[in-house]
């Protein structure tokens, strides 16, 4: 659900589509959800963290969205309603998998008030295109996102992977917009810090550089 797609979704009159589905043109449901397949999958994946369960959960979320479509009142965007549904499906699946204790999305994360400082590097700026084409960097990013604490993984997935805006993310998660911004910042800084080792391999050795770090 990148912003361009969202605009297209609005342009195709989703409210009208939903009304027609509820009036009996059921087949239009395929068309209604097509722009959101990726978002729903990624939302569930962010919670269950494995492909098989994410696919099952995403399918269940879509089926439930169809069955409960009449409950959608249009107070939020359809995509936000669907994201919430996907998140609930993911959480339910996680509980079934009996992994909830390991990583609850509802429990506060220890040290949330602690400041997270980014890690210094000099090389990425110099070879951005090369770096971004490296397969291992993609793998490292996937791993780093998977290792984020649940609340940060969810925020990062909604905002930076699914392209939801701050207001939509706040509604979907039931938190205020400022909290979305704070947690997103922390999530991004955690990822930056985590990924620096993958970028340092080609960092130029610069005598004295580390000695003048502002935090040293």
């Amino acid at each position: 659900m990148k912003s361009g797609e969202a605009t297209a979704a609005e342009a195709r009159d989703e409210a009208g589509l939903i009304a027609r589905i509820l009036a009996g043109e059921k087949e239009l449901f395929h068309e209604l959800i097509r722009p959101y397949e990726r978002m729903v999958y990624m939302t569930v994946f962010a919670i269950v963290r494995n492909e098989t369960d994410a696919e099952d959960g995403a399918q269940d979320a879509m089926v439930n969205a169809y069955r409960h479509l009449g409950k959608f009142r249009g107070e939020s965007k359809f995509s936000t309603w669907l994201a919430t549904s996907a998140m609930n499906e993911g959480r339910q699946k996680l509980r079934k998998l009996k992994r909830a204790k390991e990583d609850s999305l509802d429990e506060p994360v220890q040290g949330e008030e602690q400041e997270i400082t980014p890690a210094p590097l000099t090389d990425w700026r110099e070879i951005p295109l090369e770096a971004l084409e490296r397969k291992e960097l993609r793998e490292a990013l996937r791993g780093a996102v998977a290792e984020l604490p649940g609340i940060y993984r969810q925020i990062f997935t909604f905002r930076d992977l699914d392209g939801m805006n701050v207001a939509e993310t706040a509604v979907a998660l039931g938190i205020n917009e400022n909290m979305v911004k704070v947690r997103l910042h922390r999530a991004r800084m955690m990822l930056q810090k985590r990924l620096v080792p993958f970028l340092k391999t080609t960092a130029p050795a610069r005598k004295g550089f580390w000695g003048r770090m502002p935090w040293s």
Partner: protein, 86 residues
């Protein structure tokens, strides 16, 4: 206002999302002009977001869409599964 590195880090995310005030943006940019550490941190964070938005990084399983619509077709064909209005 003269910002130090820690101030800049605290606002990196909002700076990338363009939700800082014009005044703060100008202060950050003044700092970035002479601080290669913060410039590199900013660029690396930005690049993480570019990489995240690239569909090749977080891929859907092969055949995901086909399987989804096949299952939906079965559900839609079943009258008992028609959407409820409440």
């Amino acid at each position: 206002m003269e910002l130090n590195c820690k101030h800049v880090w605290a606002h990196i995310s909002d700076y990338i999302d363009d939700t800082v005030t014009a005044e703060l943006r100008a202060d950050i940019e003044r700092h970035l002009e002479h601080c290669e550490i913060c410039s590199a941190i900013l660029d690396s964070t930005r690049n993480i977001l570019v990489l995240t938005a690239d569909d090749r990084t977080f891929e859907l399983p092969v055949g995901f869409s086909k399987r989804l619509h096949e299952r939906l077709a079965l559900v839609l064909a079943d009258e008992a599964d028609a959407p409820t209005l409440k």
